[in-house]
Symmetry: C2
Subunit: 356 residues, 2 copies
Amino acid sequence: MKTVRIAIIGHGFMGHEHEAMLSEMDGIQLVGISDIDPVQLEDVKKGIKRYQNNEELFADPEVDVVLIAANNNQHHDLVIQAARAGKDVICEKPVAMSLEELDDMVRVTEECGVKFTVHHQRRMDPDFRIMKEVYDQKELGEVYMLKNSLYGFNGNMHDWHIYKSEGGGMLYDWGVHLLDQILWMMPGAKITSVYADIRNVINEEVDDYFKILLRFDNNVTAEVELGTYVLTDKEQDKWFERHWIMSGNKGTAYVDGFDSEGKIVRTTRLLSNAGNGRTMTAAGPTRSFGPPVPGILTTEALPEVNTCHRDYFENYIKAYNGEEEFLVKISETRRVLALMDAVRESGRTGKSIAFE
Amino acid sequence: MKTVRIAIIGHGFMGHEHEAMLSEMDGIQLVGISDIDPVQLEDVKKGIKRYQNNEELFADPEVDVVLIAANNNQHHDLVIQAARAGKDVICEKPVAMSLEELDDMVRVTEECGVKFTVHHQRRMDPDFRIMKEVYDQKELGEVYMLKNSLYGFNGNMHDWHIYKSEGGGMLYDWGVHLLDQILWMMPGAKITSVYADIRNVINEEVDDYFKILLRFDNNVTAEVELGTYVLTDKEQDKWFERHWIMSGNKGTAYVDGFDSEGKIVRTTRLLSNAGNGRTMTAAGPTRSFGPPVPGILTTEALPEVNTCHRDYFENYIKAYNGEEEFLVKISETRRVLALMDAVRESGRTGKSIAFE
């Protein structure tokens, strides 16, 4: 297989991540890195070129593929410039700031005959892939509810992500990942309606909280909720309980945190009074919401998955050599962008938006 | 103060609860109990009359007030019959199956000049009152998010609650309480839109899962989510974590379970990178969603409240004697019923519903 020779535009957080990964992968040669801020290039590893500017990068005949990890608002122009220079392109997510931008990028990359895909590496997140496996294997019967929650502790966003003009905010930073995961998990399902609450809680310019409900025609309602400032004082090892919950009429699966502790939980009895179990609480007696009687719950291990972000580029190498399809198709990223438009419209109007 | 002489219609779960409480309260005399099923009367306590039928109850001159704890679909007729018999009325929630029923009940009780209120005792739940106190005291700055979650383990509903014709289902059983709590917490706020997902997951006839989002004009989006079949295998003492979460731009408050463990959590720093903290996870590095660095979170105790369901009837005695207002006004229960209509319409159509 031909080694893929890649150059990176942008040596910020993701640029550094890419540098670390690509410089150690077989099948990829990391040729060089550019950044509009020369200071950002000072710590580029030995043996990797430091381009003075993007023109020098685009002109480098040793570069097959440009990996664009610049600020979100630069994706459009950089993808087009790279394509016009005859380079294949991997763009960071969100691929574009609007559908119009994306359609423009698609037109030019097609005209130039270059390969074009997007770095949606979170399709390889083990926590997500476990839930996808539970869904694909129909472990829970008819799934009705799927929820992904992410709570942070400091309201903080980083670097240029605090600026609206740069494409900042959590919808662009994490939202596109979380929505892409849900859509890719259930590829045949159409979204019938979208409802979203979006807030700038701590940040002035950009969103740092959102709750998005997607109603699908396969009977699932999926929720993604993210807040950079929804606080808890749980112990560190319990920090991120119930990152994912999926529930069906045959049980519930949950995943705690990114490192994917979790279980499938079922009941041994259904629709029978649990010994007429009546729990007295400070809010009076309850039959439905007390703790379970011993023995009524059973657990099973979650399916095992073995994926990591490196797999994104392993696929890229094979797909570049024609041995596989690219993991991320532009049509999929276009659907996510269209969904983001509906999400923002719902957040702005307070109304649900019909979709698909 | 005049002792309030009460008779109960319906000796099921709530009838028994009322019997236990009212028979031991000063200021109230529990005169008697009726039930359409004579077997239900076998365990009525000594010294309390067992009426052969409701007519006998209505005709009893020793009865001032009829407390209606029969199936939901019987509330309308029983309230009207009690009023026509000249009795004051306390009706269990939901007060009626429709706005039309309620308006009818209001007309007749006004015509008959009898007192009419509803048993929304969950306004006295300590878990709820703590959150209301946090809200009233503006402990969290500008609140944007309020969430009440209740997950059960067996899909079970009890007795007649499994039948649609009797007014069964969790929306009627718990939903009206949870919505009433939210509306009563923020009495000045108008609801601008309602979005709901309602399911029959395990039960054939009646709803046993719902997620309801209420957007208010005070900038709060409130969520109530309840599922009788959303399972977890947490230890018993952790069974019901995060029953309530309220978040504002100055912190988050949470309450675990009905017995109201919880904290107010704040951060010592805001909008600063937490030491550029980068946590490596199985899903790659994260700066926003790793566990907090030591010292960044501070906690405060939740406000103390001292309320219980008995307070509902303590208020009733005083209000009956003209010393206080009745805790629960019919106009408030009418608003909850109207909201329930919007909730069901949203659940049915999958669209948000404009409200107020």
